[in-house]
């Protein structure tokens, strides 16, 4: 939006703080209208996203390739900041995108891998086998996404991964037992 000239923030000063009301530059983008059921911007955006959805499967494949490449690099060079970050970002992106791409059951396995990487104090102690199991689980759930029982398969895989990961994290964080509570996220397993 074009900026209004000579508009300055209104500032009120109190004991140890200021309250600043900036000029509302976005006011011009708001209008009151009578109820118009035909004009639904959310539905329009959902339709636009739906039109894009034929590409999602290919996108998820490329994200899995990226995760696998990060795993291979980790095996070759061991845990360094670079290999750790690459693996974490690949898993983190899958966690965030999976549902949007139509692979909702992948998110928990990818999220478990993120948690393993992020909350292990000494990354060199992360077992490569556990990384492998996470990456393989992600790939398996993506591969079997079209199966009618994919939810059960994903649930079984992710539940076990989650248990092993939590056991490992509790052990690795035994010198700071409160830490894991402070970083508790929403449950990775929707139902048990």
């Amino acid at each position: 939006m074009s900026q209004t000239r000579n508009e300055r923030p209104a500032v009120m000063t109190f004991g140890d703080y200021e309250v600043i009301t900036p000029p509302n530059k976005l006011r011009g983008a708001v209008s009151a209208v009578t109820d118009n059921a035909d004009d639904d911007p959310v539905a329009r955006a959902e339709a636009a996203l739906s039109a894009l959805s034929s590409e999602f499967s290919g996108w998820m494949d490329s994200e899995c390739e990226r995760l696998d490449a990060a795993r291979r690099k980790l095996k070759q060079t061991g845990f360094t900041k670079a290999t750790r970050d690459e693996l974490f970002h690949a898993a983190h992106d899958i966690k965030g995108e999976a549902s949007t791409f139509g692979f909702p059951y992948v998110a928990a396995a990818a999220g478990s891998l993120c948690r393993l990487i992020e909350h292990t104090p000494d990354m060199t102690r992360i077992p490569h086998l556990l990384v492998d199991q996470h990456v393989d689980a992600v790939r398996a759930i993506v591969r079997e996404n079209a199966r009618a029982d994919v939810q059960e398969i994903a649930h079984a895989l992710t539940k076990r991964l989650h248990e092993v990961t939590e056991e490992f994290l509790v052990h690795e964080n035994r010198h700071r037992p409160d830490y894991l509570e402070t970083v508790a996220g929403p449950p990775l397993i929707p139902h048990d």
Binding site: M1, Q3, P9, M12, F14, G15, D16, Y17, E18, V19, I20, T21, P22, N24, K25, L26, R27, G28, A29, V30, S31, A32, V33, T34, D35, N36, D39, P41, V42, R44, A45, E46, A47, A48, L49, L52, W59, E63, F88, H89, H92, D93, K95, G96, E97, A98, S99, T100, F101, A107, G111, C114, T182, V183, A184, G185, P186
Partner: protein, 181 residues
């Protein structure tokens, strides 16, 4: 009813993942936005912010060079750039409480945990446009008022000293629009 004229808004989307940028661009265009600019990391995002002067910034958290949190801290520097008040939506795969609090304390306007949905994004934008919050400046914080509501049951110490304006009551445009509509 209230309507947002998306054609009047300029967006900047900062995310290192090309797929997520494409999704955001698709959603924003679906809403009706025409001006959507993109950057693929925090540094490019800061440059694009300075260049395009967007009305709303949507940023990822985890990005190379510097992340979305650092980017927010750089933008929220009074006097250091064209618009330190710009609304910032943090869109991230992080959903832990400590992350939400860290975002809020860095000056993020709205927090959105992935997976993204058209409805959730629209609601955040609607809140930003129709219900702007004043900014608070203290020795340690500069950003949107973190007190969205008055909590009559609060019994802790008063952290803001010396004023009657502990909570700034504003009539949101949304309420005004409802009255008009």
């Amino acid at each position: 009813m209230i309507r947002i004229e998306f054609t009047k808004l300029r967006f900047l989307v900062i995310d290192d993942n090309a797929h997520m940028r494409r999704i955001l661009r698709t959603l924003l265009h679906g809403f009706g936005a025409r001006e959507v600019y993109e950057a693929e990391d925090g540094a490019a995002g800061l440059e694009a912010f300075t260049h395009y002067i967007p009305d709303i910034v949507i940023t990822d958290w985890a990005m190379p060079i510097f992340d979305g949190l650092e980017l927010t801290q750089m933008i929220r520097q009074p006097g250091a750039n064209a618009n330190p008040f710009v609304p910032i939506i943090m869109l991230t795969g992080h959903s832990e409480k400590k992350r939400v609090v860290a975002s809020r304390d860095a000056g993020v306007t709205e927090f959105m945990a992935k997976p993204i949905s058209a409805k959730a994004l629209y609601e955040r934008i609607l809140n930003i446009v129709a219900n702007p919050r004043p900014f608070i400046k203290t020795k340690t914080y500069f950003g949107p008022d973190r007190r969205r509501n008055v909590n009559p049951g609060y019994v802790g110490p008063e952290r803001r000293k010396g004023g009657k304006a502990d909570v700034m009551k504003q009539t949101p445009l949304l309420d005004k629009a409802k009255v008009i509509g």
